[in-house]
Symmetry: C2
Subunit: 717 residues, 2 copies
């Protein structure tokens, strides 16, 4: 065999092919042809990442005969590798770093051997995420030190990383520097090095385009050095919510989520909602701030320990955390005084993404681990919202998407590739069950689904933890404890749809029309409430609607919706709707193509009811999607893909942001949006469904409920 | 006054002059003419740094009449400043940031108003050090945040620092980020910012020349933000010796040393010398390492607190420490296992300079403070030696300088601007009083000076703490406790000079020659030892020399020099001399122009005696200088001048280093250098002084002491 010999090699599934010099390794051939094959150990037959399948048979498509014999015989080390890792063994399986080409072959690169693996995002329209984290592990052999030589261990490690992996401009953390000498001794000069940043990092800078100031050239940093070959590169995606803290432990080489742990945010004991926690800091100063910070950090440490235990890894193998949260959570996590966020002008300490050493926050991960906190958009639009943007990527799409993340403030983003507009609307706690007489958090026993028969005014409902409707259960089997957010939305929307609520939100006093229509259903006269009118209980000028009877409730008391509850829901939905309208006016559109509801709450609300309430603008109901914890998913994506992470910073800086607190149109939109649904919007979808009268209905006559409702709508609120 | 009006302005002492637009401030005029005037508060009449003197009178030299009236009247704020700082007031004194030019003037810039101040180094041939630290404080006014604006406090601070001070590419430490919002509130948008790096940093990179890999562009980092105008920028220069730890607290704006604190290195209790501490770590593993590290860090924290208290500053105003030490101290300080330094090939974890957060080392300075550890040269040549180089700057000189820092290892550097050679010689503990029968540390009572009458063999000496020679005191007033290093060197050299020691280091058995010469002095027959021969006491084949009698000693026993003591001194001086010879051979010189003795020990030894012993090569004795703690002085210079700091890293990497442990010539030079002085060296200086016979003396005859000594010299050792 001379150096002029060449062989044809074809890689599947890419189909890339070419003639290469006979005698070179399959891995080198793959690299020459631009085929993506992974390798961690640098050809030491240790990591198995470069395993390929040498195919046997006639490949008519390519016109060649492939045979495992057309590749050099397995080495002793290679056989040893497969003996030690039987799960990796398969027919024709070879380590491409040592198997050399001896003739024409077809090679299959299995998915696990591709460097650029992908995982499917949970939200993000199930778009695949390319696994390209900011952290990498390298197995490298360092030259031994010889007496009289002027290079230390670190200088020789740098030289080895440059030679074997092309890494340049490295720095080393003091933690890794402390490990280095003994790791080299333990591994007999072979070590596994964990590097933050480095190769390919330059491309990150280019992708940021010209709209951003040139960042400082990126220095890669060695965070860890261990003797011998070692696999274990994990990250943490964390969503710190006001109520719940959730941590996902992720394998940064496969993208797999190994464990998810969640807990109540212990700050709840200092204040249920954000503003009461801000008040706590205002009143208790630095001590109060320290307590709140220590509380959430302590919980995170517990979650990390649990997740690591479940995944059977060490917390010291977790090299990075990406943490998202609203602006107050963000400040409290970092130990920054959030007082300024409690009042206009809602000043943030910084909008920029933050990289901080985990140990500086008191987080117990790897002692040199990094924590990345994505950028904040504005005083009330936090990195949780940016997480939703990272996950949903509206800026890559043509469809005009409306992203709504409902909490005490609703964070709303509207736009597409031509631009993004965002704002925060002060919805208050009503959607979370706050300021609602029988409101409660979404938990077993909470009423989450409601239907009211428009003919009779009689309700049926479902409680969390029971798939059956209440009317199919004996009352004592229902056990309702209260009403959660989605239940509140449905009951108010259903009350309106059934004609029990006027468009202005007041309960209808005179229900004679029901009788007029002759549709009174007395079939459930066995029910404790035999007369539907009695579901609406009047006390003087105020009414309340009995959703669950005392017999159906776990508390032994009626679960009711009061006039105040309806008013609070109106205030909340009007704030949300006004925010959406401001963004639509800003972007200059009268209709959106798609509505994405983020957050746990968004997953439970029914789009139709949300639209009846006027929570969301008119839209094809089929395009309304709930994406669950998209903020957490965004954190996971930022952890797994450094390019997406880098892309996200400009969103926060360059998007159009409307400060609802000072926009003169907000109050106007807000007042107009108090009605059910928004008076000034046509809502053709609801009209087509018959929930609202068709436009022509305004010409119809008679003292009907519909006419009554129309009249109400024309009244000034 | 139109914009075309110009005035002549002359700055003293620089003499720079030019016509500038009438009406501009004196500070702007200075900047236009390239005159160095300091300013910290950015023209807010707060810092007083820009104070200048407007001269009155006829300046014939320049041909102008200067008058304080040729400058605009003082503002209310300016008057207020001088009222609050009466010490700054002087006739004609004005704040140049507000005083505007109204006519021709002569302006004197007092030294304290020059940005580029200088202090005089203690060593370094009293060369001035330009004060140009890596840290600066800036007083800056940040735009208030307006509602709806998309910039956080940090973004607006960056903008203000860029606008007012030209700072770019800033990052901010989490510590400062936590302070920022409340500092802006407290200072009503005016804050004092402490920045590490920044302006002028680029020039640092250029000065490193082409021999160094291009470093990453420097990012400046905000370490601290305080509300309002605040002065207080301090640094720490630390020399961690095996025995003593010394810390100097330095004002980084004036260069002044405000306090110096020193303490025993508490690691002494784990092992007196370096190798016993290395053994301690070998035997006790990570626990042992942790104990040694915590011991020295704890002591440093105590020294820092004491120094800060003495200087009446807060430790949180100390923003950087520069720490030098030998390689084992360096490793133990950082928490790096020093075991490899205990045996060949003496592998260092890194040679590179290290920047590490003080808090990562457990050092309690400002919580974001940096610690800089200069580069290490080789396994036994530490940053203390680099400190000597920083202070002495042989690489800037034509004179070929030999730098010797004597400890358990002697660190030796030889060279000039054409190149530096260095090595470490295993001198052992003899020069520090170790392995010497009556050896002791330099402390009150230790014999430090010795003279022996060549005619009689009778000694006289001085002890530390008493300026009088022992022969002028009554015996019971002497109180000698032992012999310290300089005393040991002198007594051995004097014994040789008096003919009591042969060139090979053995005591002379037959002293009849003294009688032959008829010079026996019996004048001090009242002395307890009336016969000089009795100072040399023989016990069988071994002799010892009585330096202090039992009556003169505090212990009540004779203080003697044994044959073994002489042998140990011979071993030590031979190692040192061999090292010097290797470097001279490496550089290709047979003579050095200058010898610099560094370290406390070097300050006490007498050059002539050192040369008689053969400790140092032949040299004009007038050019032998002791520079004291040049290592600590180097740390101080590295703290005060960032350019000198940056220049020093290449010394450690690019200098020629000879590993004495493997150099085949070392053993040969070592054996040859055992004689007193080195046989193969001509030592013309000693011959000229008559300490050694002139070359022609070899032709003289007779059983004289000189002939006897010559004969000895010709014997093979």
């Amino acid at each position: 065999m001379t150096s002029l010999d060449t062989s044809l090699i074809i890689f599947q599934p890419s189909g890339r092919q070419g003639r290469v010099e006979t005698g070179i390794t399959l891995l080198d051939a793959a690299r020459q042809l631009g085929v993506d094959v992974d390798s961690v150990c640098g050809g030491r037959q240790t990591c198995g990442k470069c395993k390929v399948i040498v195919e046997r048979g006639e490949f008519a498509k390519y016109g060649i005969q492939s045979d495992p014999q057309h590749v050099s015989a397995a080495t002793a080390d290679e056989n040893d590798y497969f003996r030690r890792h039987p799960s990796k063994f398969s027919a024709g399986g070879r380590l491409s770093c040592v198997a050399c080409i001896a003739g024409d072959v077809v090679i299959t690169v299995p998915p696990e051997s591709q460097q650029r693996k992908q995982v499917i995002g949970k939200s993000a329209g199930n778009r695949p995420i390319e696994i390209d984290p900011i952290l990498h592990q390298y197995y490298v052999e360092v030259e031994p030190h010889t007496l009289g030589e002027r290079r230390g261990d670190w200088e020789r490690l740098q030289e080895a990383l440059a030679r074997e992996w092309g890494l340049q401009h490295l720095t080393i953390d003091i933690v890794a520097l402390r490990q280095l000498t003994n790791a080299l001794k333990a591994g007999k000069h072979k070590v596994t090095v964990t590097v933050y940043g480095g190769k390919g990092q330059e491309s990150r800078i280019e992708t940021q385009g010209s709209s951003i100031k040139p960042p400082a050239p990126f220095m890669a940093k060695v965070l860890d050095v261990r003797g011998g070959f070692h696999e274990g590169l994990y990250g943490l995606a964390v969503d710190v919510g006001s109520t719940t803290v959730a941590a996902h432990l992720i394998d940064l080489t496969t993208g797999e989520t190994l464990a998810t742990e969640a807990a109540m945010n212990p700050q709840v004991s200092f204040g249920e909602d954000l503003m009461s926690r801000v008040s706590y800091v205002m009143m208790n100063g630095n001590d109060g701030l320290r307590k709140l910070t220590q509380a959430v950090i302590g919980t995170l440490n517990t979650l990390v320990e649990k997740a690591a235990k479940r995944a059977k890894i060490s917390v010291t193998e977790i090299y990075e955390a990406v943490i998202v949260g609203n602006t107050v959570m963000h400040a409290l996590l970092l130990g920054i005084d959030p007082t300024e966020l409690g009042a206009a002008p809602f000043t943030l300490t910084t909008h920029a993404p933050i990289d901080v050493r985990a140990s500086d926050l008191g987080l117990r991960l790897h002692p040199a681990a990094n924590v990345y906190l994505p950028a904040l958009e504005a005083g009330h639009v936090g990195s949780d919202n940016l997480g939703v943007l990272i996950a949903e990527a509206p800026e890559r799409q043509d469809a005009i998407t409306l992203l709504i993340d409902i909490g005490t403030n609703a964070e709303i983003v509207l736009g597409n590739r031509n631009g993004l507009w965002s704002c925060s609307s002060p919805t208050g706690p009503a959607f979370e069950g706050g300021q609602i007489a029988h409101g409660q958090r979404a938990a077993p026993g909470a009423i989450e689904r409601v239907r009211i028969d428009p003919a009779t005014g009689v309700p049926k409902f479902k409680v969390i933890g029971n798939e059956a409707w209440s009317d199919t259960l004996s009352p004592d089997a229902v056990g309702a404890t209260g009403i959660c957010g989605s239940g509140i939305i449905e009951v108010v929307a259903e009350l309106f749809r059934a004609g029990l609520l006027r468009s202005d939100g007041r309960f209808v006093e005179n229900l004679e029309w029901k009788m007029e229509n002759g549709k009174l259903d007395i079939s459930n006269s066995q029910s404790p409430i035999s007369n539907p009118q009695s579901h609406l209980r009047w006390q003087g000028v105020k009414a309340e609607y009995v959703l669950a009877t005392a017999a159906q409730s776990a508390t032994g008391k009626d679960i009711v919706i009061t006039q105040d509850d309806v008013r609070n829901i109106q205030l909340a939905k009007a704030a949300l709707h006004a925010g959406c309208k401001l963004l639509m006016n800003g972007l200059g559109v009268s209709k959106v193509d798609k509505i994405v509801l983020a957050g746990a709450f968004g997953s439970y609300i029914d789009p139709l009811h949300a639209m009846i309430l006027g929570l969301i603008p008119d839209c094809d109901l089929a395009t309304v999607v709930a994406v669950g914890n998209a903020a957490g998913d965004g954190a996971r994506i930022a952890l797994l893909n450094k390019t997406r992470r880098a892309e996200s910073a400009p969103f926060a800086r360059d998007g159009h942001y409307i400060e609802t607190a000072i926009d003169p149109n907000f109050q106007q939109e807000f007042v107009g949006a108090m009605h059910l649904p928004h008076m000034t919007d046509p809502y053709p979808t609801l009209r087509a469904l018959g929930v609202l009268p068709a436009k022509s209905a305004s010409e119809s006559d008679g003292r009907s409920a519909r006419r009554e409702r129309r009249r109400e709508r024309q009244e000034k609120f």
